[in-house]
């Protein structure tokens, strides 16, 4: 497995949010994490990426234990993380956001090449390089955050609710990009409230509830489970 989370516990101070969560993702797979509010979905991504230190359990990337590394160290192992709000630098230009995204690349030439490559994939930023990131629309900011995360060619991309508060056309654009990235061989772990959007692209779905695994399987398995559909998707059992 490329990314594996084994019985991880984590939280904020004395409050334990994740109470033994496990999941695994193979290279090139898209994993979706869904569940009710407060289930620990965002906490899971933050723990994998290093913003929170697991108090128990293991996080591994390609067999290497990465649990407990700082985010800047985790990032260097091949993970990238896009926060729910995009995490842009609003008073910096589009171009400077991309350059900071390439902070770990060796030298200016490598940064320029990576920025050109990313801009080719996101042509809407091509002639807006000098625009301040904070002046972009919400959808454009989310796309710029995605673009910036690709500067270092990660092996696994962690996305926290990429469609939250976006207009439908931007949700489509975000998920078109997700599909493109998958075709390029990238593995993605996506926390999502928009269940239909994630079920349409994911190979595996993990349902969390109260910090524990409630389900793990393919979207077809999930659709086939009356109990899960009733409890977590808000659908009536057929």
């Amino acid at each position: 497995m490329l990314l594996s989370v084994e019985d991880v516990r984590a939280g904020y101070g004395p409050i334990e949010i994740l109470q033994g969560v496990s999941l695994a993702l193979a290279a090139g797979q898209i994993g979706g994490v869904i569940g009710p509010n407060g289930a620990g979905k965002s906490t899971l991504l933050k723990t994998i990426f290093g913003y929170l230190r697991p108090t128990a359990g293991r996080v591994r990337l390609d067999g290497r234990a990465i649990g407990g590394l700082r985010p800047d160290q985790t990032m260097r192992t091949g993970l990238a993380y896009v926060a729910q709000d995009g995490g842009l630098f609003p008073d910096m230009t589009v171009h400077d956001n991309l350059v900071v995204g390439g902070h770990t690349l060796p030298g200016r030439r490598a940064v320029r090449a990576a920025a050109d490559e990313v801009l080719a994939r996101f042509p809407l930023f091509g002639d807006r390089r000098r625009q301040l990131a904070g002046s972009l629309s919400g959808g454009e900011q989310r796309l710029l955050a995605l673009a910036r995360a690709l500067m270092t060619r990660p092996r696994v991309l962690l996305l926290d609710e990429p469609s939250a508060a976006l207009a439908p056309r931007y949700i489509d654009r975000v998920y078109e990009t997700v599909a493109e990235l998958h075709r390029g061989g990238l593995a993605l772990l996506i926390v999502e409230q928009n269940v239909e959007a994630i079920l349409a692209v994911a190979h595996l779905v993990f349902v969390l509830d109260l910090g524990r695994n409630a389900f793990g399987g393919t979207p077809a398995d999930l659709r086939g489970s009356d109990r899960i559909r009733r409890l977590y998707l808000g659908e009536d059992a057929a």
Binding site: Y12, G13, F49, Y51, R70, P71, D72, M75, R76, A80, Y81, A83, G87, L88, F89, P90, D91, M92, D96, V99, V100, G101, H103, T104, R108, V111, L132, R148, A149, T152
Partner: protein
Amino acid sequence: MLDTLLEFAIQGVVLGGLYALFAVGLSLIFGVLDVINVAHGEFFAVGGYLAVGAIVLLHLPPGVGIVGAALGAFLLGVAVYPVLIAPLKRRLGRRPAGPLYLVLTLGLSTFLQSSLLATAGGDYLQVPPYVRGILDLGVTAVSYQRLLVLGVAMVLLLGLFVFLRLHRLGLAVRAVAQNPDAAQAMGINLPRIFALTLGLGAALAGVGGALMAPLFNVYPAVGFPLTIKAFAITILGGMGNLAGALLASFVISLAEAFSVMLIPSQWQNLIAFVVMIVVLLIRPQGLLGRALSR
């Protein structure tokens, strides 16, 4: 009348150079670390003492003394992060710091002043001018030493602004100021950037101390009044806003210079604080607001 105005304007601009060197560093530290560094004046004093040591005691050229002061203050600033700020940050975790960093740097200020007093004594030390002579501008005359302060300050500040806009590490400093969590996700090592920022701010103050050594006497508390004035300047410019600090430095220095025409000179030092109080009451975000940005 015009001659008098020009004379005060020139004096104000020269003084503004020193204020800017000091206040921009203070504002940089606040913008990146969210720490109001009460010990900033002691970096200035350390710069002055290093200049005395290099130029008076070791008879080294002034240039070496100034560079030595910059390096010494930089290293001292860099050391402050792992020794003082980081341990408190770790202990606090996600809890708000409140006034703790202010109290911590106040402790550092007292420690450094006492250390300087214990090692160098409380005497007022003097350094001979680095450049001699006076430039006669017709309406007024300015010593080359004062022009040196202004020139070096402007070159260093220009260098800082270019560094923050164009250099990889400068962009990282700005990124950390705007969104430290996101900066970390880009692979930026926060402790390193925090230490670098403290070092840069301290180095600017240290150079200021070395440049002013021939004009002021050097003594352990020489930087403290400047720290207090720099608070007024950074509040006027907008806390954490470097361009604002630069602008406010000249606003305050010119206001002080021109005030002599209207009020007795012993009231001159109150100008900055009256401006600070008025700004806090009317426009607490300062002239340009808070942004370590464009």
